[in-house]
């Protein structure tokens, strides 16, 4: 039996402590996706008895709701390939324009909805029909973009407008954001403006265009995953380097098994790169500063080991100390 390390118990304690700290870090900082919105955007339009009676937006709706259109935004997904944030836009009319439902609304008076999307959309909602929902595809800004993955962040603005089909006048509108989180993303919506006194924290866009801004960045869990995967690559490189150094000094013989191990590691690194959350395309900053250098150095280490294996006399020599 070979001599054990004297400091095993101390090192074991260190390992347990490190693992505990790591799990605590994961538990505290790791968060999946989250969607947040400001106080003006997170609650829907309310129609409490008498709430709108003195409002200019109220006519004589029996439900006590104002003549208005509520735009309800529900985050859907991030199309990273096309650099677009996709939200669902549901039109919920109230008052003389109709009433809201779960997935749409029912129209009592014709109105059109214009949406400032990548594929600019105009939708006509006719009386007696459910309102038509639209996919809002917002281009994510090109500044600080995917190249800086996972520290990329994006912002943008979504603009909508509802117009009375008969009078061609703008319909007062308001915007609400639904509680739908996107896996791996932190999305924040905000509106600028002052809410009307009777609207209970809702900003009313009387003049036509309703606007809402958004900011998008990756969730903490993505940072942790990336740090871990990068750490994995670096450990692989350091291990390969240390082993090759030991062989080059003549402390260990060059061996075919080692070449196989280096080849496995090389394949594993390519797998690790393919498992970056969100599948970012090749050519991002991390590729230039971590992935490509690690792959190149591992390849060089493989070449060096092949060279040692070919030129040295102790190739595949075995350690034959008797037990």
């Amino acid at each position: 039996m070979y001599q054990k390390f004297n400091s095993i118990s101390r090192q074991r304690r260190l390992i347990y402590l490190s693992l505990t700290l790591l799990f605590l870090m994961l538990a505290v900082f790791a968060r999946g996706g989250a969607t947040t919105s400001d106080q003006y955007s997170n609650s829907p339009l309310t129609c409490d008895p008498g709430q709108w009676n003195n409002s200019v937006y109220y006519s004589d709706d029996p439900d006590g709701c104002p003549d208005m259109v509520e735009f309800y935004l529900l985050p859907s997904f991030v199309d990273e390939e096309n650099s677009e944030l996709v939200n669902r836009l549901i039109t919920a009319p109230s008052g003389m324009y109709g009433w809201a439902d779960r997935n749409s609304g029912l129209t009592d008076r014709s109105f059109t909805v214009d949406l400032d999307s990548v594929d600019t959309v105009r939708v006509l909602n006719s009386p007696g029909n459910a309102t038509i929902g639209v996919n809002s595809r917002s281009k994510m800004s090109t500044k600080n973009s995917l190249f800086y993955y996972p520290f990329d962040f994006y912002n943008g603005e979504i603009t909508f407008q509802a117009t009375d089909f008969q009078t061609k006048s703008a319909i007062p509108s308001t915007v609400t954001v639904g509680e739908q989180s996107l896996s791996g993303w932190i999305l924040n919506f905000s509106q600028t403006g002052e809410p009307d006194s009777e609207s209970k924290n809702k900003i009313i866009y009387a003049g036509g265009l309703a606007k809402i801004s958004w900011e998008l960045k990756r969730a903490n869990v993505i940072f942790i995953a990336i740090i871990l995967l990068i750490f994995l690559m670096i450990i692989a490189l350091v291990s390969g380097f240390t082993i090759t150094r030991s062989i080059s000094y003549g402390n260990r013989p060059p061996s075919m098994n080692l070449l196989l191990w280096l080849a496995t590691i090389l394949f594993a690194i390519i797998q690790v790169r393919g498992n970056f959350p969100g599948n970012p395309p090749l050519g991002i900053l991390i590729d230039y500063i971590i992935v490509f250098p690690v792959l190149s150095l591992l390849l060089l280490l493989g070449i060096a080991n092949t060279f040692f294996w070919l030129v040295r006399a102790d190739w595949d020599i075995e350690n034959e100390k008797p037990i």
Binding site: R102, A130, V221, T242, N257, L258, N319
Partner: protein, 309 residues
């Protein structure tokens, strides 16, 4: 080492029973846990000629949407059922609270009308995979109401990886119904007026949950096996070797393949990753680093097990 034959027999029996339990459990669970249907959409559905079949036919998690299909099954004065739909004897118009499309199910007298699909919103996310669940729903309104109750029957379609439990919900506020009326009476009152609201709670199939748990156990067992091998090397019972390193690297490689094989291919960064996948990667990494260190430092590197003469 001689193993007592009685003990061996007990072990064999235990392993056989364990394997049997392991194989039978998912079959039993899948047989017992079935998607449920609201009684008002199955056994207690209203007796009316104005019938429709409704089903949830697709779940798209990435897109946060679901597809609901409505098939007319008109009878009597309203029409005649065909193989895939109905021949209508009256104008039919059902307003459907769908997210996209016309939002209307309509047909004119003498028209053969088949099933139609409507896209609805799906709320929820995959953070708690494989125990993630979602909610979706739809509202129906008969705009040509002719005092004939709306009869709805839910047909369960196969949803790959998911099961959906339906519930009917009252359309109006509590105070708009007669006092002391229970939920069923409120919904029947809605159906008698040609209105319906249905909600589905969508969950993963027990088989998929079982498969995800099984893969998680496989990952944990792999980590456990590699941990005990590294421990033996660390404590000097076994020599550090390049073969051990290759084995650890192959395990690392396998972990990514197992992660990619999870049913439903959940996105990266779920709770499953945080609790199982990432910690196992960390453990394997630490083990690779430890074995490399020992291979360089110790004299028994790549030592063969030569029997004493």
């Amino acid at each position: 080492m001689i193993i007592n034959s009685k003990l061996l027999f007990k072990w064999k029996i235990s392993i056989a029973l364990g394997l049997l339990f392991f194989i039978i459990t998912p079959i039993i669970i899948s047989a017992l846990i079935r998607p449920t249907t609201d009684p008002l959409l199955s056994t207690k559905s209203l007796n009316s000629d104005y019938k429709f079949e409704i089903s949830i036919s697709k779940i798209n998690i990435k897109d946060n949407s679901a597809t609901i299909t409505i098939t007319p099954r008109l009878e009597g004065n309203y029409g005649e059922p065909t193989k895939n739909g109905s021949l209508t004897f009256k104008d039919v118009e059902l307003l459907v609270d769908s997210y996209q499309g016309s939002g209307k199910f309509s047909a004119q007298v003498g028209q053969v009308i088949g099933r139609q699909e409507f896209k609805v919103l799906l709320q929820g996310n995959s953070w708690r995979y494989p125990f993630d669940n979602y909610v979706t729903g739809i509202g129906l309104l008969d705009s040509k109401f002719e005092n004939q109750p709306l009869s709805l029957k839910e047909v369960k379609e196969y949803l790959p990886g998911f099961r959906a439990n339906s519930t009917t919900i009252p359309n109006y506020r509590e105070d708009l119904y007669p006092s002391n009326s229970n939920k069923d009476e409120q919904i029947i009152s809605d159906l008698n007026k040609g209105i319906a609201q249905i909600e589905w709670r969508v969950m993963r199939l027990p088989g998929d949950i079982y498969a995800a748990i099984l893969l998680a156990i496989l990952m944990l067992i792999s980590a456990g096996a590699s941990l005990s091998a590294t421990r033996a090397v660390w404590s000097g019972k076994r020599p550090p070797s390049i073969n051990a390193l290759a084995w650890l690297a192959a395990f690392l490689f396998a972990m990514f393949q197992i992660r990619a094989s999870l049913p439903g291919t959940p996105p990266s960064g779920t709770l499953f990753d945080l609790v199982i996948f990432y910690p196992i990667l960390i453990v394997l990494l630490a083990e690779i680093a430890a074995v490399v260190y020992l291979w360089i430092k110790r004299d028994d590197w790549d030592l063969k097990n030569v029997p004493k003469v």
